[in-house]
């Protein structure tokens, strides 16, 4: 079991309020991703759950028990650090076994568990090597091995893939997701990479300036962002925001349209006219940055075959049902 509940969790460092009251319910077995820009408090929130920082207020419940006064080791959680944090003087075997050794398990049982974890992570040939003799991806797997071998209530991942190169990151992303599904253990994963968040998560927590902006499934966040921040943060390229009369005529302060929901039309019908500033041809897609006069610069995503270049005049038409409306507090207006 690994249900984690936060109730009004707060954290301040001196006068600086980092976490401003977080309420969250993470069901057992879920893969939850904390995502947000740098300095939004996502790592701090994770460290509060881990017990590496003390809360300034509120309660953290693991399976219904308040753990704010429980030391990290007794919370039954495992953490994978961004820097891997392997013990440099111990072999891979020593690293993975350390937690079990601290728990006082018999040697035979430790060995059996370490071998099993190593087999799951393809680390068996490296068991007697030191961390410095491993590649980045292998080190990360050792760190994950160290986490899974303790059979924790939940895994905490603190940007574990950000030190890896792009190709390896994609591969490890799949491995971590697969492993979590296979073990069925609750996981909390911190990242600033919204692609990681969208692809891995069952549920995403979007954080901004110490507040939880929205908590929901990736598709929910994409289709029904609760406010301007979430709308702008989830989705790549970013959603276009338009203010002024164009928004007012739709009964909103700001309207938002995703680049993939704007069509370039040449049927002479109604639309926003503009001039292409830059066209980025990615092969599968083409991103157009269009100067739409009073509406500002709009990003448009169209199919790769679109042969448009800088200076071309275009007419843009948003998909009618896909225009998001926000009030003057930046909150989404539904219906």
């Amino acid at each position: 079991m690994g249900r984690i509940t936060l109730e009004g969790v707060q954290k301040s460092f001196g006068p600086v309020h980092i976490i401003k009251g977080a309420d969250l319910d993470i069901p057992d077995g879920a893969f939850v991703v904390f995502v947000g820009p740098s300095g939004c408090g996502k790592t701090t929130l994770l460290r509060l759950i881990a017990g590496l920082e003390d809360v300034s207020g509120g309660r953290i419940l693991i399976d219904g028990h308040n753990v704010v006064d429980v030391p990290p080791a007794k919370r039954g959680l495992s953490m994978v650090f961004q820097s891997y944090a392997l013990y440099p003087h111990m072999s891979v075997r020593g690293n993975i076994a350390f937690g079990l050794k601290m728990a006082g398990l018999p040697k035979a049982e430790i060995n059996q568990k370490v071998e099993a974890a190593a087999a799951t992570l393809n680390l068996t040939p490296y068991l007697d090597r030191k961390p410095r003799e491993l590649s980045g991806g292998q080190r990360q797997r050792v760190a994950i091995g160290r986490a899974i071998v303790r059979e924790p209530k939940a895994f905490l991942f603190d940007e574990p893939l950000s030190n890896l190169d792009a190709a390896l990151r994609v591969q490890m992303r799949l491995e971590v997701t697969r492993l979590q599904k296979q073990l069925g253990t609750t996981a909390i994963y911190v990242t600033h990479d919204q692609v990681e968040a969208m692809t891995m998560a069952d549920k995403i927590v979007v954080l901004n300036a110490g507040r939880i902006e929205q908590y929901g499934s990736p598709i929910e966040l994409y289709q029904k962002p609760a406010n301007l921040f979430v709308a702008g943060f989830i989705g790549s390229p970013k959603m276009n925001f338009i203010t002024g009369p164009e928004a007012a005529q739709r009964g909103a302060t700001t309207i938002g349209v995703r680049p993939e929901h704007i069509a370039v039309v040449d049927d002479g019908g109604e639309g926003w006219s503009g001039k292409v500033l830059i066209a980025e041809h990615l092969g599968s897609d083409t991103f157009l940055y269009v100067d739409a006069g009073a509406l500002g610069t709009l990003t448009v995503r169209c199919v790769g075959e679109k042969r448009l270049g800088a200076g071309d005049a275009v007419t843009l038409r948003p998909e009618p049902g896909r225009i998001y409306r926000f009030d003057n507090n930046g909150l989404a207006i539904f219906a």
């Binding site: 080791a73 007794k74 440099p88 937690g99 601290m102």
Partner: protein
Amino acid sequence: MARKVTGRHVAISTLAAWLAGFVIFFPILWMVLASFKTELEAFATPPSFLFFHWTTENYATVQERSDYLHHALNSLIVAGGSTLIAMLIAIPAAWSMAFSPTKRTKDILLWMLSTKMMPPVGVLVPIYLIYKNMGLLDTRTGLVFILCLGNLPIVIWMLFTYFKEIPKDILEAARMDGATIGRELIYVLTPMAIPGLASTLLLNLILAWNEAFWTLNLSTLNAAPLTTFIASYSSPEGLFWARLSAASTLAIAPILIIGWFSQKQLVRGLTFGAVK
């Protein structure tokens, strides 16, 4: 493109390194040679390098005239004692500054270092008077105390830099893995800090062993370590080169041997963290 290393390059640089090593080592070699000469030969111009009348007479004289073992024991107690006490104070100090620094940590460190910028002679008179009034003159306790204080800033600085190199994440990982503070110290911290601790200990031992200013000024006989023992051979009646050399050779022998056997550790410690 990688630089080409030819056999000639290797030969030239090897020769240059040996030459530099020899130049640095020459005074010590010369001293050792002089200690086996007679007083007359030690003074002779031109000096003879190897072809002289070898004698151990100087060592016998030195041992007869002054009690080497007494001074050596004093050196051992003073250098060893001051080093141990300095380490005991410095480890927790450096530890707390490295792992839970405050706003003032940097200032404290700089202030500590600044005390080393003052010439010791500047405080000789007050310290001498304090020692006199407290009855610490010519006592081992007094010397342990002053050498410990004198080297403390360097010891704290060195340990601070070593501890700083230990990533905080690793300590936190150990905590997550269920290690208590005691076990964290035994299984994670100590093995990682050993090179740093060892080289700090060795360097401090060498500094304390060789310290001459305070030992010469604050001790005469009872607590006098080997530095005072050497100095006693440069007397107003005239210099006795051969005997002085014999005394010096005896005085530096122990630390030279320790240094020789621990050079790997020392070099490793001094370059620790230079290359990740």
